[in-house]
Amino acid sequence: MRFILRRLGFYLIAFWASITLNFLLPRFMPGDPVSRMFARSQDRMQPEQIEALRKLLGVDDRPLWEQYIGYLHNIFTGQMGVSISRFPTPVTEVIASQIGWTLLLGGTALVIAAVAGNLLGILAAWRRGGAIDSALPPLLVFIGSFPYFWLAMGALYLFGVVLGWFPIRHAFTAGLEPAFTWEFIGDVGAHLVLPALTIVLVSIGGWMLSMRNTMIATNSEDYITMAEAKGLRPGRIMLRYAARNAMLPSVTSFGMGLGFVVGGALLTEVVFAYPGVGYQLLNAVQGLDYPLMQGLFLTITAAVLLANFLVDILYVRLDPRVRSN
């Protein structure tokens, strides 16, 4: 329990840090992004909305600490201002309409990559020097060297444009009504294949290699020799004795890996015009939509922190050593 509370405290501090960063950035940056933004959108905005935005981005004359308290109040009551590029929709609404797609894309890719990567790592370490161990790691490291978005561009070009197997943009065919019908789900699935595939391809190598290296260390433990001496089946030793104990570092990197997947998903979404938060972030950047940018950043951060916290709880379940101290 103490462990969990410590971690919770840490995540709260991390979240506070990102909020404060968000608060300070527009106020202390050289140049004036705020007036650039106002110049662009003044004619469409109501005076009171301009006033609210000024407060959000720190173009008012109150002392800094007063602004800070007001800012914190706004964040925790969910007032993140109005989006400029999608005026006059509130930022929270824009984010809410898109975060589901990113969760779908990132989640699918993360789970597939983690499961497949760990399995390959287990096999590679078990058959040291075998086909999987000698051929796959260099290949996967090489694929992993490509930038996420470049592989996405390649996949889009090859499978989308040249071969035409999969749709090349958006999350579902335009004009199709979102509903829980087989037609719609199948359509969403088809749109998911290419973006998810590229993320899996890039991230699977890291999973596999770290699992392989931990497994190699575990394989030389005494209890493995003991298990062999007892005459247990090799498959059982591999999965229940070696892999199970080598899994722990992978669980930790699952939380860490999430940050990378979010980043990868952002770029992949941009390439495929997939309507998630990453694509929206790019639109916000291009439209100088600072409130939306900040809101997206906070949402993504909160999601990553939350996921890490869940992983910690899982870790306590898996590793009794954490519980005892």
């Binding site: 991390a14 090489f142 060297s145 930038p147 470049w150 190699i216 979010v262 952002l266």
Partner: protein, 308 residues
């Protein structure tokens, strides 16, 4: 880390000159050799770019969207620029930013890691907290939001990449420094009254040279990849020629949809080759310093009992 322990002057085995065996191990390692050759080729290309392709690479020299041909080996962009010239010139900015970011973030990582491990207690707690917060904040969104608020330019790109990139190296270096900090020779140095700076940089640091090198390589890989990502989103300095910007323009000009694969393939392959070469060197460093990862050609069962 056997080399690190052997290197101690306090131990008589130091005569084995582990440093030379480390370099020797790297040169005879096939992965390291391939990696170093690829890197040398790219560094040579970057240095020779103005000689090979004199003049501004982004000027328009030919018809738009030409396929690769003897005149334009990699074809032309939708604007009519020579893709080969853009790619070769692009290596300058990409390698420069990658190396600068790599060295700067490793340097910060060394400072933070050593200070954490040496001073311990409150300083360690505070520095570890900051490190972990930076590790946890999702990198790319942080990059984007920093880059969006700062005035665009090369300096911004480097600054932003260092801000988001140092934490990983700090964490690795701290844990390594911690294990060396608990060794007897450090205690001896403390007792004999050596200054903190001397102990950190002359006693502890030399003993983690291989980890520092691995971290540096990882940071350079990060720098090159993250710069490309940032520029691809249009958040870099769009007026410079770099691999990331080449890809940004390729995406912007619809090279994918018009089927001009030659516009976006070269820059991406270059990034991947450089990152792969650096990763190879990194694995080689690992293999040379960690005997468990070395290739052993004995059957599995014998190997396992031999490993103990």
């Amino acid at each position: 880390m056997t080399t690190a322990i052997l290197k101690q002057p306090t131990q008589p085995i130091a005569a084995r000159k582990p440093n030379r065996s480390f370099v020797h191990g790297l040169i005879t390692n096939k992965k390291a050799l391939v990696g170093m050759i690829v890197m040398l080729v790219f560094i040579a290309l970057a240095l020779l770019a103005p000689v090979l392709f004199p003049g501004d690479p982004s000027r328009i020299t030919a018809m738009a969207s030409l396929e690769p041909s003897p005149e334009h080996w990699l074809g032309t962009t939708a604007k009519g620029q020579d893709v080969l010239a853009l790619t070769v010139h692009g290596s300058r900015s990409s390698l420069f930013v990658g190396l600068t970011v790599g060295f700067a973030s490793t340097f910060i990582g060394i400072l933070v890691g050593l200070a954490s491990a040496y001073f311990g207690k409150f300083i360690d707690e505070a520095l570890s907290l900051v490190t972990n917060v930076f590790l946890l904040l999702p990198g790319l969104p942080l990059l984007v939001i920093l880059a969006a608020f700062l005035p665009p330019g090369l300096g911004t790109v480097i600054l932003v990449l260092v801000v988001t990139g140092w934490a990983g190296s700090a964490r690795v270096l701290r844990s390594q420094a911690l294990s060396i900090r608990s060794k007897d020779f450090v205690a001896a140095a403390v007792v004999s009254g050596e200054r903190a700076g001397r102990i950190m940089f002359r006693e502890i640091l030399p003993n983690m040279a291989s980890i520092v090198m691995g971290t540096l390589l990882a940071c350079v890989i990060y720098g090159i990849g993250a710069q490309a990502g940032l520029e691809f989103l249009g958040l870099g300095d769009v007026s410079t020629v770099s691999w990331g910007n080449n890809l940004f323009w390729a995406g912007n000009e619809g090279a994918l949809l018009t089927g001009s694969w030659w516009v976006f393939v070269p820059s991406g392959v270059c990034i991947a080759l450089v990152a792969f070469a650096l990763a190879l060197i990194n694995y080689a460093v690992d293999e040379v310093t960690n005997p468990r990862l070395r290739k052993i050609k004995t059957p599995k069962t014998i190997e396992r009992s031999a490993a103990k």
